[in-house]
Assembly symmetry: C2
Homo-oligomer: 127 residues x 2
């Protein structure tokens, strides 16, 4: 049975002193905060330790120089966490950027690796 | 002190049953085999366990249906391992592809994240 090849692309942002500050983990975490209105629930929903979720948020806040989450008290959701406008802007910029890079990469994938199928025909594995 | 943002991009190939089969690890490993003429030395040079190096090579061989390494006996390098033509082709295709995707991503990075500097000015972190 012929296996197809697929691309997995990861986009991460680092500072110039090699501190990881934004990537798929925090992006998903922020999206889950939007959905759950709680950092604790967001972390739990992706099986991430609450302490790790806090650390990721704190690191991004230090690098970007702004708060990522703000607390709401009472109201429609009975209090909890929401994203700040700055966190929204970062998240949107990251997702748009990641999506454009992925589109470019996907468009060139077949052309770059199509020889894979011929490899299998011309060079059967020795055993 | 203002920190600059940098991109780190990772390109990995998976099969449709989600088996990782090619990426930065095996690419570097194959390049080190070329340099050292030995899988053991190649693995050691990147602080990778020899057993892991073998596993990575075996997995790629199973997916791509071809040998990655061939043994040489005696000769200029006193025996050892060299890349098969198929491994060369894969490695070259991967590096060329990775490089074109990275170039595209780098070209759009500043435009996508330049607002980062303004974020720091407009939203000083509370503490």
């Amino acid at each position: 049975m012929e296996k197809e090849l697929h691309l997995k692309l990861t986009v991460r942002l680092y500072t110039d002193d090699n501190q990881r500050c934004f990537g798929p983990g925090i992006a998903t975490l922020l999206e889950r905060v939007e959905a759950h209105h709680s950092l604790r629930s967001a972390a739990a929903s992706m099986e991430m330790a609450y302490s790790k979720a806090w650390r990721i948020i704190r690191t991004a806040e230090a690098v970007f120089g702004c708060k990522m989450l703000s607390s709401t008290i009472g109201g429609q959701h009975g209090g909890g966490a929401v994203l700040t406008p700055e966190a929204h802007r970062l998240l949107d910029a990251y997702r748009a950027y990641e999506s454009s890079v992925r589109q470019f990469a996907e468009d060139r994938f077949e052309e770059s690796f199509h020889f894979y199928r011929e490899l299998k025909k011309t060079a059967p594995p020795e055993d």
